[in-house]
Each structure stands twice: as structure tokens, then as C-alpha cells.
Amino acid sequence: MNRETLISVSLLAVGAIFIIGRVLFSEYGMGKAYVQAVEVRSSGSEEDLSWTKYESTTQRKYHEAVKKDPDQNDYQFSLSRTLGIWVAALFTLFILSFLYKDNPLYKIAESVVVGVSAAYWMVVGFWTTIVPNLLGKLSPGWIKSWAMPGLDTEAELLYLVPLVMGVMLLWRLAPQGTWISRWPLAFIIGTTAGIRLIGFLHADFLGQIRNTIMSLIVITPETGFDLWESVKNIIIVIGVLSSIVYFFFSIEHKGYVGKTAKLGIWFLMITFGAAFGYTVMGRIALLAIRIEFLLNDWLWLIDPSNIRI
């Protein structure tokens, strides 16, 4: 057994012992989920239909309810959601284990996330695009009859075009004539190019020139000449112009052009540094919430929101 394996195995063993100990010997255990039963009454039909919906609740509420009335049924322990918390916690650890080295646990997590997420987006695409925007437009009556009773639109036969193009796209799977799938691809790329060409010229190109047109000397009616604002404006104008020079392709970066381009690079570097600094914040918050999940929802070591006894 080499050193790395030894370390990982002993770490796993310590972790497992701690968790088993916590589950078996602490008063309330850990990683349990509770639900509250809520009755849903249907409002849309003559018959009086109702069913039960389960909403997440806290361990504190559950124990308080049990204390009040040991036979109550509103608050219950949820096996499926408890299992869920454990699965989620293990997956979190599996992914983090990659930081140490690639290992079978990470591979399991990776395989699951690929499968679940690919299917997840397909389901979302089906229920939010194919059903309402394609089938719902082509045959609203049919969609209304089984999937979206609240739908209230008229048929638009124009949507036959994307349908036909979709079929052409799928023709790739056919043994012959797969070249036909290039037609919808050509349509997508052509329309994309058209939309982006004009969209970027309008919004970013003109818009950013417009925003940069400002007076280098700022004079306000109240205070007169404002040095600080003037300096700001001057720096911005110089920065934009010099950075644009950096992007010039048809002139070599030599002489004055080279010097200006250099200034432009400095501006770009400051911009990148600022973006880096800001991004660090976000990334750490993301890690913090995962660790909070492990410590709070799963291990029950901390309780910042005061939801447990």
C-alpha cells in the first residue's frame, strides 16, 4: 500500500467512524428531513377533489408538534428526502475528492451528473419549448386537451417551418442523404450572423461610443470647475482610445503606435485585475454555501438559522 492510498483510506475510515458515531450515539442524529402535510383542494371542477402535498419543514417544528401531540400526522419524517440529503452530501464530497486526485468516487459522481443533467435539459426543452412553442402553436387544441389546459392561443401554421427544418436536421440519422441536415444548420448560422451583426453594431458599437462622448472639463453650476470628475473623464477617454489602438491589426506596434498600444495594454491589464478580484469573491461564496450545506443540513454541526433543537 503506497503512501497516498494509505492517507486516503485512513481519512475515509476516520470520516466513516465519526459519521456512524454521530448517527447512532447523538441525541437527535443527523441529516434527517421532515415534511409537513398540506391538503390541496382543486378549485376547477365540480367534484370535490383533493390530495396531499408535502412541504419541507424544520426539525424544530417536527419535535414541537410531536411534543404537543404524539399522535399528530401533520408533521412527518421523510425517508425520501433524508435519503436525498445523504445522497447530496456524498456527491458533494465525491466531487471535492477530485482535488486530491482522480478516483473512482469522483468518476461515479461524474457519470451521474452527465446522465442526469443531459436528461434534465432534454426534459426542460420538451416541456418549455417543444410543447408550448412548437406543438402548442401548431395544434393548440390537442395540447390543450392533455398538457396545458390553460393554453389560449390560435394555431400558427408558420411553425411548420421549424418543424420541417427539425426533421431535416434529424435526417442525419438516416442512412442516405444526410447532406440535407446542412440546410437547417445553414439557416441557423445565417440568421445568427444576421442578428448578431446588426445587434452588436447597434448596441455595443454605437452604444459604447455614445457613452464615451463626454466633456473633458466638467463644470457644474453649483461648484464650478470639478477637477476630480474632469480627471476621471480624461482617463476614460484616453483609456478607450489607447486600448482600441492595441487592437489595430494593419499597423505594426512600433513607434508612437507601439507606445499607445502599450498604454492600451496597461488599461486592459488593470481591467483584468479588477475582474479577477471581483470574481474571487463570488467563487468563495459558492464554496461557502456547499460547506454550509455539509455542516448544517447534513452533519448538523452548526445551526445558523436556528431551525433545530
Binding site: 443533467s117 441536415s181 450572423a193 446588426i198 466633456s215 472639463i217
Partner: protein, 403 residues
């Protein structure tokens, strides 16, 4: 908040309307506006109508404080609804958000300082907005688009006639061949990631263009290129591209379509897969060319750990710092789009870069002109005629030409 001001204005105008009657007086308000006329707003979508009326005399101007404007789909005096209020020194107004299907009457009322109102002036006949065939507000944009496209086309044409174009070097593009060569030497695969966006993103299309070059060099060297994609359509387009590159390189038999494959649409599912795959297969060269988000650093750091040569190109400003920090070469923004032209080695593609430079000259000229006008205008002072006309010119540039 906006609706508050509107409500208040509405209330004020309603009260001022009622006020004289409450006091039991005959209306002693200002004179009613004269010669009210309405006409279709030109060059629009068919939802605006301009109305105008006579300027009031100078001595009357002190009396009139503002005008309230109303519109209605019928001549019935009770059906008018409030549209807006403007100051007395203006004598025209554009009513927006009308419907082409209806025709409209308009009414204006002059209001003086103490809230007395005039007799209303009403348009005599109904008018409906009409839709024109061209959007006038976008005319300057149209011209700028023509100039830009024209100069790109012109330089492409020039390049085709064989005039040599001077184009500066971009570090990183030379690295492409080097990276592919190294992968071949080491007998390891090349990883190409065309971003995580779909084909409706120009960066993906630009990335696919770079892929065609990388795949061609790889085919010549007989190296393996692996392209995991995060979108089904990108997989389709990438397969077409790689196949074509192998054909151009004269090795169609080495093309293996299973090396271009779909993983998942989910950003982090995709990156979980790619990260694992990188550590296991240890590609010698990694290319990240397309639209990237947070995964940029995960990819680049993992690539760095396995010691791959990494070349990145993206136009996502937020991700550039991470590629700059972790990759060997990074194509920044516009350079990335230029890469496909450079790599193609075709002279007409280089022409387009010259055209882009024309665009940059327009930018610089626009900024310099605008800034100069505004600065001199500010120094001369907006009170002076000279200063105010310069400021007006700059405002015209900003609000008419550049919108």
C-alpha cells in the same frame, strides 16, 4: 415612482379642470390654443402621431404654464384620456403607443399658473397612425452598417486582386502549429473545446473555424483531435468541419466521427466530464476557442496541472483574466475573431481585418469629435451662443446619430 408623478400630474390637471366650476366662476383661464393639427409621425412603426399648434404670443406666455394633452378613439368629449403634460414654450408633441387599427382625436388644454384652464382645442378629424417602410431612427445605423460592411467587402476584394496586406502578428497563433506538433511527438491527443454556447453564438462559429484549421494540421501530422461538445448542434457542425479538414488534408480515412461527441448541455456537468477526461487522457495540447463562462478556469487549471500547451480565445470579457493567468497564449476579444482569418492563410480573409480597422477609425473619430465639441462647448459655457451650439451638436451626435 414614475407613475406617481404621472398620477399627480393627472390629479392636478383634473383638479384644475374642476376648480373653476367649484368656485362657480366663468372660466377666466388662458386662451385656448389655436390651429391644433395632427399628422402621422414619419418613419416609424405606425404607433405615433405628432400634434402641433400655434406658438403663443410672448405676453401670453407668462400666463400659460403648461399644456395637458388627451387622446381618444372617438369624438365623444367624455372618452378622452390623459396622455401627458408639457411646458408652455413647446408647441408640439408626439403621442406614442397608439394602435394602427384605430383612428384618434386629440385635445389640448392650456393651464395657467393658478391652475385655471382654457377651453379645450380638439382636432377636427380623426387620424390613424400609418406604418412606413423604413425606421427613420435607424437611418444613421443603416449608414454606419453600410460603411462598415462596405469597407470589409472592399478590402476583401482588394486582397483578392493580389495587393499584399500588412497585418501585424498575433502571439499565440503561431503556437497552434507548434502545439499540434508537440502532441504528435508525444503521441498524445489534442483537446479542442468550442465553448459551451450553441450555434446561435458567433463565438461558437468562430471557434469552429479555428477547429477546421487545427483539425487540418492534426490530420497532416496524423494526431488525434478530441472534441467534446456541450450542445447537440455544435456536435453536428463540428463533425462536418473536422471531416472536411481531414478530407482537405488528404486523409479522409483517418477521420473518426466518434471523437466529436456530445456530453451534456449542463455547464458544470460538461466541465465535470472534461476535467476528468483531461486528467485521464492527458492531452498534450488544449484549445479553448469559443464562448466560456465560469468553467474557463477549471479547464485552464486542470490543463496546467497535466502540463499541456494551452491556447485560449474568447470574447467573454469576464473570463479573459483567467485565461490570461492560466494559459500559455490567449486571444483577447477581437483577436479571437481575427484568428480565423489569420489561420485560414487565405488573403481575402485578411482583407476583412483591414475592414475592421476602418471600424476602429470610425470609433476614434466619433469619440474625438464628440469629446472635442463637448469640451470646447463646456469651456465656452452653455450660456454663450457658440458654446450652446457646440453642446447641441454633440448632443445631436449622441442622441440621433449614435442611437
Amino acid at each position: 415612482m414614475r407613475s406617481h408623478t404621472l398620477h399627480t400630474v393627472l390629479l392636478v390637471s383634473v383638479f384644475s379642470f374642476i376648480d373653476p366650476y367649484l368656485q362657480g366662476q366663468e372660466s377666466s383661464g388662458p386662451a385656448s390654443p389655436t390651429n391644433l393639427s395632427a399628422s402621422d409621425h414619419p418613419w416609424d412603426h405606425g404607433e405615433k402621431i405628432d400634434i402641433q399648434w400655434d406658438d403663443i404670443e410672448k405676453n401670453e406666455q407668462d400666463k400659460v404654464q403648461s399644456y395637458s394633452i388627451y387622446s381618444s378613439r372617438s369624438a365623444n368629449p367624455d372618452s378622452f384620456i390623459f396622455v401627458g403634460t408639457i411646458d408652455a414654450d413647446i408647441s408640439k408633441y408626439t403621442i406614442e403607443k397608439l394602435d394602427r387599427k384605430y383612428s384618434y382625436y386629440f385635445k389640448i388644454i392650456a393651464i395657467d399658473k393658478s391652475g385655471n384652464v382654457s377651453e379645450p382645442a380638439v382636432t377636427l378629424s380623426a387620424i390613424s397612425p400609418t406604418r412606413q417602410w423604413f425606421d427613420g431612427r435607424r437611418f444613421p445605423l443603416f449608414i454606419i452598417t453600410l460603411i462598415f460592411c462596405g469597407s470589409v467587402v472592399y478590402w476583401i476584394y482588394q486582397a483578392r486582386t493580389g495587393i499584399p496586406l500588412k497585418i501585424r502578428k498575433i502571439a499565440g497563433l503561431e503556437a497552434v502549429d507548434e502545439a499540434v506538433g508537440r502532441a504528435t511527438e508525444m503521441g498524445r491527443p489534442i483537446l479542442f473545446i468550442p465553448g459551451i454556447q450553441d450555434m446561435n453564438e458567433i463565438q461558437t462559429i468562430a471557434g469552429i473555424t479555428v477547429l477546421s484549421r487545427v483539425a487540418k494540421v492534426a490530420a497532416e501530422y496524423d494526431a488525434k483531435v478530441e472534441v467534446p461538445t456541450s450542445r447537440s448542434l455544435v456536435m453536428t457542425a463540428a463533425r462536418e468541419t473536422v471531416q472536411a479538414s481531414f478530407l482537405t488534408a488528404g486523409r479522409p480515412e483517418s477521420y473518426n466521427q466518434d471523437l466529436v461527441y456530445y456530453v451534456t448541455d449542463e455547464q458544470f456537468g460538461y466541465v465535470a466530464y472534461v476535467q476528468g477526461m483531461m486528467v485521464r487522457e492527458k492531452p498534450a495540447a488544449c484549445f479553448y476557442m469559443g464562448a466560456f463562462f465560469a468553467e474557463s478556469l477549471i479547464l485552464a487549471e486542470t490543463g496546467n496541472t497535466i502540463g499541456a500547451i494551452q491556447v485560449a480565445g474568447t470574447a467573454m470579457p469576464a473570463q479573459l483574466p483567467f485565461f490570461v493567468a492560466a494559459c500559455d497564449y490567449t486571444l483577447i476579444g477581437e483577436e479571437f475573431f481575427a484568428a480565423s482569418a489569420y489561420l485560414s492563410g487565405e488573403p481575402d480573409q485578411l482583407g476583412s481585418l483591414k475592414g475592421q480597422d476602418i471600424g476602429k477609425i470610425i470609433v476614434a473619430a466619433g469619440i474625438i469629435i464628440g469629446v472635442t465639441l463637448l469640451t470646447i462647448g463646456t469651456i465656452a459655457g452653455p450660456e454663450s451662443g457658440f458654446g450652446s451650439s457646440l453642446i447641441d451638436a454633440a448632443e445631436y451626435l449622441k442622441s440621433v446619430i449614435l442611437t
